[in-house]
């Protein structure tokens, strides 16, 4: 797993992080279900930053580098969401409140991305071409990082991140549309 390179502590700590991100998602979903007041806007960066604060409080020293953490957390977000979307597709589950809440988060993401499994496949295809673009998408879309944060997490200039982002976004849009056959012709 590519996450391993960011986690000297190995599988244990990466599992810990996954459950942490999962908890955060769950918390988010619950809040959105409870219908918070419209004035309360969750800042785009809040999710990964909140997660990071919790890691710091837990005294987990190997995450002292915030940039590393953001990178990892964004990948974890993608993983958790896609995984959930896949399970949702595959199995009819008992509806525990937790799962339903996460369903809603997946739904919110899919409003912006279309089918998450398709996006995931698109990102895999993009990774073959240019893995850095995939990391930008993970940080900005799945991690909710601003362009500035994304740039600092990757050690890039903000302008480079932006131009990578618009390219990746157009590319993914085209890729998803052609995969879904929006521009179909029978092509015998």
């Amino acid at each position: 797993m590519s996450e391993q390179q960011h986690t000297p502590g190995g599988a244990e700590s990466s599992e810990g992080l996954f459950s942490l991100v999962y908890d955060e998602l769950y918390g988010l979903a619950k809040r959105s279900m409870n219908g918070q007041s419209p004035g309360h806007t969750l800042q785009p960066t809040a999710l990964v930053n909140e997660a990071y604060l919790k890691v710091l409080k837990s005294g987990n020293s190997q995450w002292s580098n915030r940039e590393h953490f953001l990178n990892f957390a964004a990948k974890a977000m993608r993983h958790v969401l896609v995984d959930h979307a896949r399970k949702k597709d595959a199995v009819k589950r008992r509806s525990s409140g937790e799962r339903v809440a996460l369903d809603q988060v997946v739904q919110e993401f899919e409003k912006r991305s279309g089918n998450l499994l398709a996006l995931d496949a698109g990102l895999e295809a993009l990774a073959n071409r240019d893995p850095q673009l995939v990391t930008i998408v993970e940080l900005h879309f799945f991690g909710g990082c601003s362009f500035e944060e994304t740039a600092s997490a990757l050690g890039m200039k903000t302008k480079e991140v932006k131009s990578g982002w618009v390219f990746a976004r157009s590319w993914l849009n085209n890729h998803l549309k052609s995969e879904l056959g929006h521009k179909i012709h029978p092509n015998p």
Binding site: T41, L42, A46, V105, S113, F141, H182, K183, I184, P188
Partner: protein, 711 residues
């Protein structure tokens, strides 16, 4: 695609983002050269059809909310952004929110222009100008909030007029219609007079920028290219900006001299022209072509385009669209006043142009048609004009070879519809000359009556066009063809790049698509290369009566030339598809059944292995003429169904009001209408790539046509 190509695509994409048409097109063509694949990929990415919210952060409501505004629904997409109906929280009101595409934030020039648009427009308060409420930026999204006008834009209204379902303008060609037209234009003229007084020139007056509210009041929007005198020029470089159809000659020439308020007067005149005639004063495939026409051509006389237009209104329109600034209305308020006089039944101040001026207009209008004989007319009006309006046209070399024969060229509309221009004698073959850019039909005729035809389109900056044709007897040409006598035909609203109504000359068309056997004969007789994949596959499985595919548009043209024929024009093709009454399909309005045409196969990517595509073709194509029930009333088969077909004139599509060429393709299957040669079960399909000699898909075939000349 290898890594080098990928990097090239990225580089070109990012560089092109900073450019606007027509520079973008020029830049990409220069950079890509022969590499059609890279060009195609970059263009596909630049099309940027993504929803503005695609891949924005979804949690909380930061994606749905921009500043004080909640996005409710998308109400329009234009070249400069997406417009949403939105809710302004602080003032509890609905507004129109124009959001720039995300990549705009990369380009500081554009952001600056956007802000300037807002600053200039926010000062304007006039009943016929939609007010700007607020300008802002959230993350990478820049937006502008303005009054939500509850109604269609004038472009939409004109489409409704064409379909005779217009709410505000009513039934075309009635006295009431022209009155309402004059009223709408008068109010916009009044808005322009006001904004000019405030030092703001709109610079992009066009039907899409005139909205009509529920009460029928017009509102001018989008001072997108406006120049505010107090803020200096918008563009330091000499970029041509604005939508070309309504652009004034001096704007189109992008000359150094100041664009002033009379520029808006011209554009509003062009809008009036379209409202009166339901056709644009100038048509063209590319921005460049439209610009060329505006700088060189006089529009078709408004009264010839539509004799029902009241004389005074026609004179007002012509005065507003005078080429020379000094001849035009000096201000929008002069135009406003004359429209007021027209509505009150008083004499207008504008005068019909003098006979000399009319003669000059005539010459400009028929510049190409009378090219060879223009000397006489020119002598009457002064030779000094010759230089100005011939030097600016792009002339492209052409070579036509055949046995000795005379060649006559006629200019066609881009769609292949007649222009009414006269023939130009190009002399005897071999012809080696130049013609201006545009679409041309040449008849090649030998003394013994044998003939051939050459149909082609010349693009600005294009390479030498070379064709070889075989002189053929009429009897032989018409073997297997069906005569079509088009009635007056009205284009559907979707085909705005075709004339609204046109009478096509009679023509002959192959009853069937050209078959594998026929094409094989052609290759053997001419030592023309066989389709590239035949050597690699078991061609014995390919039935001889299947349509030929896997060839380029140029291959199809070569075949037609050998037969003394040509490919169909777009206009002819549309006629075969819809008939004189704009039926849904070539057989009528009846929905397609398996008896009309074979069901389409599943989508298969063009880059799938050739073996796979070959199997796909064998499964989903049929022998030509297998579906007699799907015939046109004249008996032409497979116009819908079986394979798509190359055309001899460029295919076109309309993007943001700009017509773009798609050379030699039949295309466009649209909601409810099947307009292309292919069947798509659900939804639509269009082909958005140019036909190059390297594009040889297994779903494109062709058939031939021939102009009927009975005398």
């Amino acid at each position: 695609m290898n890594e080098k190509q990928w990097k090239e695509v990225r580089r070109l994409y990012n560089a092109a983002l900073d450019l606007e048409e027509p520079e973008r097109e020029k830049f990409l063509q220069a950079e890509c050269g022969e590499d059609a694949e890279i060009l195609r990929d970059v263009l596909a990415l630049l099309a940027d059809s993504a929803d503005v919210r695609f891949l924005t952060w979804p949690l909380g409501d930061s994606g749905r909310v921009l500043g004080d505004f909640e996005l409710l629904e998308e109400i329009g997409v234009g070249g400069t952004g997406t417009v949403f109906r939105a809710w302004q929280r602080s003032l509890s009101r609905e507004v129109a929110l124009k959001v720039l595409p995300e990549h705009f934030s990369l380009n500081e020039d554009r952001v600056e222009r956007f802000r300037r648009e807002a600053r200039a427009a926010a000062k304007l308060k006039h009943p016929s100008i939609a007010p700007i409420y607020e300008v802002g930026c959230e993350g990478t999204f820049h937006f502008i909030a303005m009054e939500l006008v509850d109604g269609p834009d004038l472009a939409g209204e004109l489409t409704a007029v064409r379909g005779n379902v217009a709410i505000h303008l009513g039934v075309p060609n009635t006295e009431e219609y022209f009155k309402r037209t004059a009223k709408v234009v008068l109010r916009i003229a009044s808005a322009l007079a006001y904004s000019h007084g405030m030092g703001v020139i709109h610079r992009d007056v066009k039907p899409n920028n005139i909205l009509i509210n529920a009460k029928g009041d017009p509102k001018l929007v989008d001072f997108g290219l406006a120049r505010d005198d107090s803020q200096g020029t918008v563009t330091e470089t000499d970029r041509v900006e604005g939508t070309p159809y309504y652009m004034s000659p001096e704007q189109a020439r992008a000359i150094q001299e100041r664009v002033d308020e009379r520029t808006d007067v011209y554009s509003l005149g062009a809008v009036l022209y379209e409202m009166c005639t339901l056709s644009r004063p100038h048509e063209g495939r590319t921005t460049r072509e439209v610009i060329e026409k505006i700088t060189v051509h006089e529009p078709r006389s408004i009264r010839i385009a539509n004799p029902k237009v009241p004389t005074d209104l026609a004179v007002i329109c012509e005065k507003a669209m005078e080429r020379e600034l000094v001849d035009r209305y000096a201000s929008a308020s002069e135009l406003e006043d004359d429209l007021g006089r027209f509505l009150a039944g008083e004499p207008i101040l504008a005068k019909r142009a003098s006979p000399t001026r009319r003669a000059l207009r005539y010459v400009r209008r028929n510049r190409v048609a009378i090219g060879a004989t223009a000397g006489l007319v020119l002598a009457l009006i002064g030779a000094k004009w010759t230089y100005t309006w011939t030097a600016q046209v792009d002339w492209i070399p052409i070579q036509i070879e055949s046995e000795t024969a005379s060649v006559y060229a006629t200019r066609l509309e881009i769609s292949g519809a007649p222009t009414g221009g006269e023939e130009v004698n190009l002399g005897k073959t071999p012809v080696n000359t130049k013609l201006p850019v545009g679409t041309w039909l040449c008849r090649v005729e030998a003394a013994d009556g044998r003939r051939a035809e050459v149909l082609f389109s010349l693009d600005p900056g294009g390479e030498t066009l070379k064709r070889r044709v075989t002189l053929t007897s009429l009897e032989e040409i018409r073997l297997g063809m069906i005569r079509i006598e088009p009635l007056l035909w009205r284009a559907s609203g979707a085909c705005t790049f075709l004339p609204n109504s046109v009478t096509l000359p009679p023509f002959y068309v192959d009853q069937n698509e050209v078959t594998v056997d026929q094409y094989r004969d052609f290759c053997e007789a001419n030592e023309h290369p066989l389709p590239y994949f035949w050597a690699r596959l078991d061609v014995s499985r390919l039935p001889g009566n299947f349509p030929i595919t896997g060839i380029s548009a140029e291959d199809a043209e070569a075949y037609a030339g050998w037969k003394g024929k040509r490919l169909l024009t777009h206009a002819e093709y549309e006629y075969l598809l819809h008939g004189p009454n704009n039926a849904k399909s070539s057989w009528g309005d009846e929905a397609a059944t398996p008896e009309h045409r074979k069901a389409a196969g599943p989508y298969l990517a063009e880059n799938a292995p050739i073996e796979e595509r070959f199997e796909h073709f064998l499964t989903y194509a049929s022998p030509v003429g297998s579906y007699p029930k799907g015939a046109t009333p004249e008996g032409v088969l497979d116009i819908i169904g079986n394979v798509a077909e190359y055309l001899g004139t460029p295919g076109m599509e309309l993007i943001d009001g700009e017509v773009r060429p798609m050379k030699g393709l039949s295309f466009e299957v649209d909601a409810g209408y099947i307009q292309g040669g292919e069947v798509v079960e659900n939804g639509f399909a269009h082909f958005d790539r140019p036909a190059t000699s390297r594009w040889r898909p297994l779903h494109m075939g062709f058939r031939c046509a021939s102009t009927a000349r009975d005398l």
